[in-house]
């Protein structure tokens, strides 16, 4: 035990590996939130009038909403007036090739282990790298363009494809959805926009790496993905952030729209700064993610690996409107030290024969608190709807917590809903079995945890699975309770 305790201590004290700050001149909006700030952001980005109006609507509903109190943790007070709502690298010209990009910026990506150069040639991944709110380099645009795929920043989409943006922006997550979505609506800085035309299968995984950089700048990303009839797209989102003493608020909004027969696969690996071992610092990750299966036989799948942030609070959801549409949610959430994760999903069954599948794996270590909160709602017209939910929690150490709060609501007798959840620690017999075969305890735990999370990790695209596995191993190696 003493050996494993030592390992546990080491793991608990592990410094955040990606903690560094890049020094680039910033164009920062003065702190504070008011209509002027919003006008400033809008003007800065040269936005049309309708978008500004929509932002202001979002601001109005933000003012009207109280902060939520139903969550299973104490919400730290966030001073919305103490945040600067806009930060952009000053040198804002467009790059045609990577050579023109600020070398320091490239070095940052290098440190993060994003092989931007390599990817271009080898990995086949087009990366829309968002560096503190403004797109710096978008690769592979040409290849995608040939297929008619639009993959650009939201600001660019507003300029070049206003009809698409106007039609779908806010159609899944309305401006008044919740306080953080309203805030995002009011001040969103930038984000990604994807449109896959009819019948096109996107030839590569689309990917955006977000990185919060400037001090005291909350990042308010807005992502909108539209898959037209019969199309397919797989989108990857990954995050790392430099270390910081003050808490940072991240309130992004992601909207997915799948039309008839379309399929969207959205994968996230989140590894933001989780705070030090006392829980000081660290990112508040309050994100609204929602997709709508608008047409028949459409499909949306969320996969997430959450290892970072001091508080992770999000429920990627799917509205299953089209008949025979299906939604999936696969999640691995790891909390350690004083990290908190309150995550899960919502599946709204509206159409007939809609299916949903939820697999959630929580791992709590140290003093981490992990909650699964999910809603499966079956409307009166959702005949033969089908849901399967499984949430498992693994506890490592006697100070952590694992909680499960599913909400199951059925208004249809032909619907079949199943939910099951288990909570346990790693069995001593399992570790003993592996020890007995010459595998040391640390490796045994890694093996068991990997096996435990396999069902979710298998859902990740190859490019991400490696990173996710690495993250899990950093997070959990040797943490024997």
């Amino acid at each position: 035990m003493s050996d494993s305790n030592q390992i546990l201590e080491e793991f608990k004290d592990k410094e955040y590996e990606f903690g560094f700050v890049t020094d680039i001149e910033m164009d920062i909006a003065p702190k504070g939130l008011n209509e002027d700030t919003i006008r400033f952001i809008s003007a800065k980005k040269g936005e049309p009038e309708w978008l500004l109006e929509w932002r202001l609507k979002g601001y109005q509903s933000f003012l009207k909403q109280p902060e939520p109190h139903w969550q299973n943790f104490d919400l730290p007070a966030v001073d919305f007036q103490d945040i600067s709502y806009y930060a952009a690298p000053k040198n804002q010209k467009k790059y045609e090739s990577l050579d023109e990009v600020d070398p320091e910026l490239l070095a940052t990506f290098e440190k993060l282990g994003i092989p931007l150069n390599e990817q271009k040639m080898l990995a086949g991944v087009a990366v829309d790298a968002v560096f503190d709110s403004v797109s710096v380099a978008t690769t592979y645009k040409q290849t995608l363009k040939d297929q008619g795929i639009i993959f650009c920043s939201i600001s660019e989409a507003v300029r070049e494809h206003p009809e698409l943006v106007k039609k779908y922006l806010g159609s899944v997550v309305p401006h008044s959805d919740n306080i953080y979505a309203s805030l995002n609506t009011a001040v969103f800085s930038d984000g990604s926009f994807v449109y896959i035309p009819k019948g096109v299968r996107c030839p590569m995984e689309l990917s955006t790496y977000f990185r919060i950089n400037a001090e005291n700048t909350g990042q308010f990303e807005r992502t909108l993905i539209i898959a037209d009839e019969g199309s397919y797209v797989s989108y990857l989102e990954g995050c790392t952030a430099p270390r910081r003493d003050e808490n940072q608020l991240h309130a992004a909004v992601v909207e997915l729209v799948a039309l008839g027969d379309a399929e969207i696969k959205y994968s996230t690996v989140q590894n933001w700064y989780p705070g030090d071992k006392d829980g000081k610092g660290g990112i508040y990750n309050f994100v609204t993610k929602r997709g709508i299966c608008k047409g028949a036989h459409s499909k949306i799948s969320w996969t997430q690996v959450e290892t970072g942030s001091s508080i992770t609070w999000k429920y990627p959801s799917v509205i299953l409107q089209g008949d025979y549409s299906s939604g999936e949610f696969y999640s691995v959430a790891v909390t350690r030290n004083k990290q908190i994760a309150d995550t899960g999903t919502k599946m709204f069954h509206i159409g007939k024969h809609t299916k949903s599948r939820i697999i959630s794996k929580g791992i709590s270590a140290g003093e981490g608190q992990n909650s699964y909160r999910g809603l499966v709602q079956v409307g009166a017209k959702a005949e033969f709807a089908r849901n399967f939910t499984q949430c498992d929690s693994l506890l490592i150490g006697d100070r952590c917590g694992a909680h499960t709060f599913p909400y199951i609501e059925s208004k249809n007798s032909t619907a079949t809903l199943e939910h099951e959840a288990t909570t346990s620690k790693i069995g001593e017999d399992q570790i003993f079995y592996l020890n007995q075969r010459g595998i040391d305890t640390e490796k045994a735990v890694a093996l068991i945890v990997n096996g435990y999370a396999k069902e979710v990790l298998n859902q990740l695209p190859m490019e991400f699975a490696v990173e996710a596995q690495k993250l899990l191993s950093i997070s959990l190696e040797g943490s024997v309770g």
Binding site: V378, H403, L417
Partner: protein
Amino acid sequence: MTDTVSLYDQFQALHAERNSGREGWLKDIREAAFNTFTELGFPTIKREDWKYTNVLPFLKEEFQVEQLHSVAFPATISDESIAGLDAHIIVLQNGRLTNAPKIKGVKIATINDAVDLGGAEEYLAKSIPVEKHPFAALNTALFEDGIVIEIEKNVQVDKPLHIIHTYNSLEAAFVQPRILVISHKHSHADIIETTKVLSNYTLFSNSVTEVYVKENAQLNHYVLQSEPATSRFVSFRQATQEKDSLYNNYTFTMPGAALVRNNLIAALKGTNVETHMFGLYLASDNQLIDNHTSVEHQQPNCFSNELYKGVLKDTSKAIFSGRIHVFQDAQKTNAFQQNNNLLLSDKATVDSKPQLEIYADDVKCSHGSTAGSFNKESLFYLQSRGIGEATARNMLVAAFAFDVTSKVKIPALRAHIEHLIEHNLTENYD
């Protein structure tokens, strides 16, 4: 809202009257509980634990909240006893004890007598977290009388204690029955509660039952709810268990009462405690049946098991919320929970909310919840063997309920419940 306002006024008057001339510990408790209730008010759907149940429409009537005991009751209630059940019968009229059978080793008294004799101070209103439960606070503040049942040390009660709640009134009535059960060390008893409403007027019952199961004691607690549609039942039951004790709760809700809201809490305050909660609800017509249960594992080495099953017909609505709360010290906890729902109508609604809240690591906890309809294959199988569809459906429902009914340990009671299920299913079956 005017009606609830008048209710509040009546409560206020009653509170003033109850407390005048009384002194001592009970007054303090009632005072505090009343303040809590005044502060909280009747729960609205904005409260998480009342999210699916809007109780306010059920309160909008001119209720009479006091002096119901002047109403005459028929002399016999024999038709209410369960066929073949050999039990000690305790009858409550509008919450007041009328006959207390002499049972060796069991003390039965009214709460007011017990309070006067000084026996209840240690237990009465000591286990209930009124700040979280407005109705329990209201009952604590204003209950008129009730009964205390004490099972003495080392006593094995020979026959079940059958408590029959009878209600009668000449207008819509709001009653607040109160029961206190104390199972002393190494005792064993079975308690059965049934209800009979005699009047045709609306009845709103807000009951509180406090149960203490002491070291190594065993208590089986059966609650059977099958009342007319004019009644509304909000109940709060809390069992506080000490080490090595066993508490089994069986809650059966049959079609009838427009609103049934059961709050059941088991607080496991000792090691080696065992708790079972079994529930079966059959909802029909426009019924709303809401079961909120909570198992609090506060100490190590305890075991709890919960099984709630529901069958829904017509436009009924059922809610299940079950919570397993494992405290940080409660290592080696085994806790299980299951909720299954069978929807027989397209207009029925079920909301299920099983929850696990776990702060200890060496535990085995799981819960499961399902909602669905008949298995088509099972139905086909039976039909292919020459069984008519209606009969086949009844067989399947009976089989579904069997997991719960088979847990009833008193044969006569089990037969009675099975008969009720059968009766309620064949009647007005679509």
